[in-house]
Symmetry: C2
Subunit: 235 residues, 2 copies
């Protein structure tokens, strides 16, 4: 019974988890410098575990490390987003294809529950907008992660985690638009149907469309509000 896959015992691992969360949630905005001493103080440890966390985050593409000049929260150009979504479509499409052959009843139920939660949330009201986004992102993650899990390829899961995490910070506003959410919900149901019928080809096709649709919504929102375009400047 070893703890290989729950690497959260050492403080270096905890720092990594924290850092990852802070980056994804935009607390350290893209392009901002990540000074080791400051992070160490923020998280109450010395620079040693911070450095390890940074190296690991760099390996995953969350930060960039410039030798002798430090780490920077990675920023993304529009081209980066297009690259990322191209790969997401490829990998998640493949995952959906594989999942159609192997998914279990329990996994289907989990996905249905997430899909339902996303649908019902359209009629719900939350204390704070942030709570709502948090909830939606979480349920959405359950839906997608369950497919990756059902695909039965551990490395595929790892890769998807890397790819999906990166632009998460931008996806917030995706969730603010009811019409787009309805369409996404529709995709979820279609994908679920395909999986239930064991139709891998269809599951893949719908998953790809679902992801490309998300990409397009994101890029459109971007064009709309050019004010915050600075977040896209590379370095």
């Amino acid at each position: 019974m070893n703890k290989l896959y729950t690497n959260d015992e050492t403080s270096a691992d905890q720092v990594y988890q924290q850092l990852r969360r802070l980056l994804i949630e935009g607390y350290y905005p893209p392009g901002s410098r990540l000074v080791e001493e400051r992070l160490a103080q923020d998280l109450g440890v010395s620079r040693t575990p911070v450095r390890q966390a940074l190296v690991r985050a760099a390996a995953e593409g969350l930060v960039q490390i410039f030798p002798n000049r430090g780490a920077v929260a990675r920023s993304f150009t529009v081209d980066d987003l297009i690259e990322i979504y191209d790969l997401r479509a490829l990998l998640e499409g493949h995952a959906a294809y594989l999942a159609a052959q192997r998914i279990t009843a329990e996994q289907i139920i989990r996905m249905e529950s997430a899909a339902t939660a996303l649908e019902q949330s359209l009629a719900m009201t939350f204390e704070r907008r942030q709570d709502e986004v948090h909830f939606l992102v979480e349920q959405n993650a359950i839906f997608h992660q369950t497919i990756a899990e059902a695909a039965g390829n551990q490395r595929l899961i790892t890769m998807l985690n890397q790819i999906v995490a990166v632009p998460l910070q931008f996806r917030s506003f995706y969730w603010y638009q009811p019409e787009q959410r309805q369409i996404s919900n529709f995709f979820h149901r279609t994908i679920l149907n395909a999986l239930r019928l064991g139709d891998g080809e269809r599951a893949r096709a719908m998953m790809r469309e679902h992801i490309f649709y998300g990409r397009d919504v994101l890029l459109q929102s971007r064009n709309a509000e050019d004010a915050s375009a600075s977040a896209f400047r590379e370095e």
Copy 2:
């Protein structure tokens, strides 16, 4: 003019490069413990950069780190290899598909040169067997990396590097069999043709076959010599 993509100035980076090479070439066989102090002495540095290199190697899946128990050169089960080759087929197939639209004349020439080198080497004699394998692996890498480059997706390249590096240690004996090499060479020419004609579908299909063929040769060799099956034991 920054050195972002040639991270080889700090000794931590050099240690990482060394470690990676030693792992891939089987100097540290799968399953062997990687004691920090020993690595540090082998490479003439302190434990600090060694640890960073290990963290990075773990993020890439080359080693496994067990909290408070140290790092181990990752070993692979047959199922691991199947997972890996499944993803390679997906990613390299996609790369070939994209490359068909964008590949440049210079890149074609580079690939032709590598393909020719691989063909001619069948009639050549090398000082040592190891030199030959080294040469073949290198030319083969040029062929495949050029396709990834031509696909024009930086993240795709990164992912492929991660996936391809892993089983390299096993692929050695692949190169010892002339018949299989001839077939691989034929695939290379077929892929080149498809790329030259801009036929992405065909390039993808042939690339996938090429990779699955490599996988099957690998698995067959494995079955043949069950003596060294220990290398496949997990943990």
